[in-house]
C-alpha cells in the first residue's frame, strides 16, 4: 500500500510539472472522438427511450404525469435525477476540493430538504393534486386567481433555475470539450425539447432515471479507486488527505498571513475544519432555510409526485430519493478530497475558478493521466454524465413551466376548464416549445453573466412564495385566496428585490477599483498596531448597510509593514527578465539534480507569467466593460442588503402575509372546501387514479 502511495506521489510530481498550460477544453483534440462517442451513445439510448415513450403519450395525464404509472422506486431515482444538477454533481465536489470541510457542510442542506418533502408535502400533494401546483392551491381557493399567481410563481422559479442550468451547462461543455458556448446551449435545448415534446413526462422520467444511474455509477467507480488504496478505512484515508503537501499548500494560500505560524500538520488538519469558505453564519442559515423549505416548493419536484399511482408510492419514492441523494453527497466527500489530493487544488482552480472541474480531472487522473487512453475515456464518461445531468434537469424544469403555462393559464383561466382533451395535449406541447425557446434564448443572452446566485434565488422564491401557500392551504383551516395571493406576491417579490440589492449583483465601482489594483499595483501598507475585537452595534447591521452601523470585527494582531505591490505590466517585465536569465543559466548547470530543480523553477515562472497575463487581460476587460459606470443596475454603489441569501427575511414574510391576508378576509369557498380537502389529503379518497396501460 505504501509503495503504491509513493508511486502516486511520484507520478503526481511529474504530472504537475508537465502541465503548464491548459488548452481550450479539458479533453485533448486527439481524444475528442471518444467523448463524442460516449455522448452519442447516451443520446442514442435516450432517443430510443423517447421513441418508446411517445407511443404511449396521448392524453394530458400521460403527458404531464406519465399516466400516474411510475412506480415508487422508479420515481425515487427520477427525483434524484431531477434534483442532482450539475451544480451539485460538479459544484459540491469542487467546493470540497478547494475548501474541504465547508464544501461538505454545504451539501448537507440539500438532503435535509427532503425531510420536509417527505413529512408534509409528498403524500398530500399526490392525494389532492392533478398536474400542477396551481391545482393544489385552486382546490379550495378561487381557482382562476390562484392559478394565475401559482403559474407566475412556477414560471419565475423555473426560469431562474433554468437560466442557471443553461448558462452553467454551456460553460461546462465548453470547458470540458471546447464546443462553442452557443452551440452547447442550443444543443442542450433542442435535445431536451425532443424528450419533452414527444415523450412528455414518461420520457423525461426515464431520462432522469438513466442519468441518476449513470451519475451514481460514475461516482462509485471513482470513489472506489480513490479509497481502495487505503483499505476503505476512513481514518487512514483522511490521514493521507491531511498529510498531503498540495492540500497543505492550498490551506496556506486560503489562510494567507495567519498560516505562517502553522506547522504542515496543522495546515492539513485545517482542511477538515470549518471556516475556510463559509464566513458568514447568518448567510449560511439564510441559505439553509431556503434549501430546507424551498425544495418542497420547487415545481419540478412537486410535479414528480403526480406521476405515481398512490400516496404510498409517493412516500416510497421520497425514501429512495433520500437514500440516493444522501449517498451521493457522502461520495462527494471522497470525490472532492480525492481530487484535492491527487490532482491538486491549484490545478483544479486554474482550469475553473469555482472548482467545477474537480470531478472530471479526478477521473482523468485515475484513468492514467491526460495523455493516456483510459484517462481520457474516463474523462469522456464523466463529461457525458455531466451532459446527461444538465439535459435531465432542464427537461424536468421545462415540463414544470410548460404545465403551468398550458394547464393553469391556458386551460384553467383562458378556456375556463372547457378545453377538449385533444386541445389540452396540443397546448401542453406548444407551451413546452415556447418555454424551451425561451430557455435557449435566455441562455444565449446570459452568456458571460454571473448567474450562480440564480439557483439560490430560485430556492428562496420557492420557499418564500410556493411553500407557505401550499403548506398553509393543506394544513390551516383559515387559509384563503387573499392570503395565498398576498403571501405569494410579497414573498417572491421580497426575495427577488433583496437579491437585486445584495452582494450577488455586480458593483462597477468595486470591479473598477479591483482592476486598477491589478494594473497599477498597490502602495505599501504601513505597519499596524494590534486592534481589539469590535462588537456590532445592532443585529440589523448584519443584514442591511444602515447609517451608523458598526460591524463586528475579530481582534487583530499587530502586522508588519507590507511592501508595495507592482502593477501587472511591471510585474510581467520583471518575470520575463527573470525567466530569460534562468534560461540562459540552464545549459551551464552540470549537476543533474540541480538541472531538474532549475527546470521546475522555470516552469513555475512560466506559470506565473501566464497567470499574470490572464489577470491583466481580465482587468483590462473589466475596465472597458464598466467604463464610466459607478452604480449597479439598481443604482447602488455598494450592496444595501448584506446577505447573499434573502430567505431569512423573505420566508417568514411569505408565511406572515398568507396568515394576515387570510385572517382579515372572508372566503366562503375556502371554508366550505376545508373538510373535503383535509379528508382527501389524508385518505386519498377520490384521488386521481392511474390510467391503465
Amino acid at each position: 500500500m505504501k509503495l503504491m502511495l509513493n508511486k502516486w506521489l511520484l507520478s503526481l510530481a511529474a504530472f504537475s510539472v508537465s502541465n503548464a498550460a491548459f488548452a481550450a477544453g479539458a479533453v485533448a483534440d486527439e481524444f475528442k472522438w471518444m467523448t463524442f462517442s460516449v455522448f452519442g451513445l447516451i443520446i442514442a439510448i435516450t432517443m430510443a427511450v423517447t421513441f418508446w415513450a411517445a407511443r404511449s403519450t396521448h392524453t394530458t395525464s400521460e403527458f404531464y404525469a406519465a399516466g400516474r404509472s411510475v412506480s415508487g422506486i422508479q420515481n425515487g431515482w427520477a427525483i434524484a435525477g431531477d434534483y442532482l444538477s450539475a451544480a451539485s454533481f460538479l459544484g459540491i465536489a469542487g467546493l470540497i476540493s478547494l475548501y474541504g470541510y465547508d464544501g461538505f457542510m454545504y451539501s448537507v442542506g440539500w438532503l435535509v430538504a427532503y425531510i420536509t418533502v417527505l413529512l408534509v408535502i409528498a403524500e398530500p400533494c399526490r392525494n389532492i393534486g392533478k398536474y400542477t401546483m396551481g391545482d393544489i392551491l385552486a382546490f379550495r381557493n378561487d381557482p382562476k386567481k390562484t392559478k394565475v399567481v401559482a403559474a407566475l410563481s412556477t414560471i419565475t422559479v423555473s426560469t431562474f433555475y433554468l437560466t442557471a442550468q443553461m448558462v452553467g451547462g454551456g460553460v461546462l461543455i465548453k470547458t470540458l470539450i471546447g464546443i462553442d458556448y452557443e452551440i452547447s446551449v442550443v444543443g442542450v435545448g433542442v435535445l431536451m425539447l425532443v424528450y419533452v415534446v414527444f415523450g412528455g413526462m414518461k420520457a423525461t422520467t426515464w431520462v432522469q432515471i438513466i442519468k441518476a444511474v449513470l451519475l451514481v455509477t460514475a461516482s462509485l467507480i471513482l470513489v472506489t479507486m480513490v479509497w481502495a488504496p487505503y483499505g476503505f478505512s476512513l481514518p487512514s484515508y483522511l490521514q493521507a488527505v491531511v498529510g498531503d503537501s498540495k492540500i497543505q499548500a492550498q490551506v496556506a494560500k486560503l489562510l494567507g498571513e495567519s498560516a505562517a505560524t502553522m506547522t504542515p500538520e496543522e495546515l492539513g488538519q485545517r482542511f477538515l475544519e470549518p471556516g475556510l469558505f463559509l464566513k458568514n453564519p447568518i448567510d449560511q442559515i439564510s441559505l439553509g432555510l431556503a434549501l430546507v423549505l424551498g425544495t418542497a416548493g420547487m415545481p419540478h419536484i412537486l410535479m414528480r409526485f403526480f406521476t405515481v399511482p398512490t400516496a404510498q408510492a409517493a412516500r416510497t419514492s421520497v425514501i429512495w430519493a433520500m437514500g440516493i441523494i444522501g449517498g451521493f453527497y457522502v461520495l462527494t466527500l471522497f470525490l472532492g478530497t480525492g481530487a484535492a489530493m491527487l490532482v491538486g487544488s491549484a490545478k483544479i482552480a486554474s482550469v475553473d475558478a469555482g472548482g467545477n472541474m474537480a470531478g472530471p480531472l479526478l477521473a482523468q487522473y485515475l484513468g492514467g493521466g491526460e495523455s493516456s487512453l483510459m484517462g481520457n475515456f474516463m474523462l469522456a464518461f464523466v463529461a457525458a454524465v455531466a451532459f446527461a445531468t444538465i439535459v435531465a434537469v432542464v427537461a424536468g424544469l421545462v415540463l414544470a413551466a410548460a404545465s403551468a403555462m398550458a394547464h393553469d393559464i391556458y386551460v384553467g383561466v383562458i378556456r375556463g376548464d372547457h378545453a377538449t382533451p385533444k386541445e389540452q395535449v396540443v397546448a401542453a406541447r406548444v407551451a413546452s416549445v415556447i418555454v424551451g425557446m425561451i430557455a435557449i434564448t435566455v441562455g444565449i443572452m446570459a452568456k458571460g453573466q454571473n448567474v450562480a446566485h440564480l439557483v439560490a434565488l430560485a430556492f428562496a422564491v420557492a420557499a418564500s412564495s410556493n411553500l407557505p401557500a401550499v403548506f398553509l392551504t393543506l394544513y390551516w383551516k383559515k387559509c384563503n385566496t387573499t392570503g395565498i395571493i398576498l403571501g405569494m406576491v410579497v414573498g417572491s417579490l421580497t426575495a427577488i428585490g433583496l437579491v437585486m440589492i445584495s452582494p450577488n449583483m455586480t458593483y462597477p465601482k468595486a470591479v473598477i477599483a479591483g482592476a486598477n489594483k491589478v494594473l497599477n499595483g498597490e502602495p505599501a501598507v504601513p505597519a499596524k498596531e494590534a486592534t481589539p475585537a469590535v462588537e456590532r452595534s445592532a443585529f440589523m447591521c448584519e443584514l442591511f448597510a444602515l447609517d451608523g452601523c458598526v460591524l463586528a470585527k475579530p481582534a487583530k494582531a499587530a502586522s508588519a509593514e507590507k511592501p508595495a505591490k507592482l502593477g501587472a505590466a511591471e510585474k510581467l517585465a520583471k518575470l520575463n527578465e527573470k525567466l530569460q536569465s534562468m534560461e540562459v543559466a540552464l545549459p551551464t548547470i552540470a549537476d543533474a539534480a540541480a538541472k531538474t530543480a532549475a527546470e521546475a523553477d522555470i516552469a513555475k515562472v512560466k506559470k506565473d507569467i501566464a497567470a499574470t497575463e490572464k489577470a491583466k487581460a481580465k482587468a483590462e476587460d473589466d475596465l472597458k466593460k464598466f467604463e464610466g459606470q459607478t452604480t449597479s443596475i439598481m443604482g447602488l454603489e455598494k450592496p444595501f442588503f448584506l446577505l447573499k441569501n434573502p430567505g431569512l427575511i423573505s420566508i417568514p414574510l411569505g408565511f406572515l402575509l398568507v396568515i394576515l391576508g387570510s385572517l382579515f378576509t372572508k372566503d366562503k369557498r375556502a371554508e366550505e372546501m376545508w373538510d373535503e380537502l383535509y379528508v382527501r389529503q389524508n385518505t386519498g379518497i377520490n384521488a386521481e387514479a392511474a390510467t391503465a396501460h
Partner: protein, 107 residues
C-alpha cells in the same frame, strides 16, 4: 371509488378520522421540529463552536466531520422511522376509514 355524495364533514368529525389526525399531527410535527433543529445545529456549531468542532476523536477525524456525517444518518433515520410508522399504522387507519366510507357506515 369516485363517489360524489361523500359527506366530507361527517368523515372529518368522525372519531376514527380525528384519531388519525391527532396521531399524524403529533408525530409529523415532532419529527419535523427535531430535524430542523438538528440541521441548523451544523452551521451554528461550525460558526460559533469551532473549538468543539476541531476536537479530534478518531485519528484525524474531528467532531465537526462526525457531526456533518451524522446529519446524513439522522436524515435517513427519520425517513426510516416515518415510513415504518406510516406503513404500519397510518395506512391501516386510513384504510379502515375508507372501508367505512365505502360500506356506508360513515355518512
Amino acid at each position: 371509488m369516485s363517489n360524489p355524495n361523500i359527506n366530507w364533514a361527517a368523515i372529518d368529525t368522525h372519531p376514527k378520522f380525528q384519531a388519525l389526525h391527532r396521531k399524524k399531527t403529533f408525530f409529523l410535527w415532532g419529527l419535523m421540529v427535531f430535524s430542523i433543529i438538528y440541521y441548523f445545529m451544523l452551521p451554528i456549531g461550525a460558526a460559533y463552536f469551532q473549538d468543539l468542532f476541531k476536537i479530534k476523536v478518531w485519528g484525524v477525524i474531528n467532531v465537526g466531520l462526525l457531526f456533518a456525517l451524522s446529519e446524513f444518518v439522522v436524515a435517513w433515520t427519520i425517513a426510516f422511522i416515518y415510513s415504518k410508522k406510516a406503513n404500519a399504522e397510518f395506512d391501516a387507519m386510513t384504510q379502515d376509514i375508507i372501508n367505512d366510507v365505502n360500506s356506508g357506515s360513515i355518512k
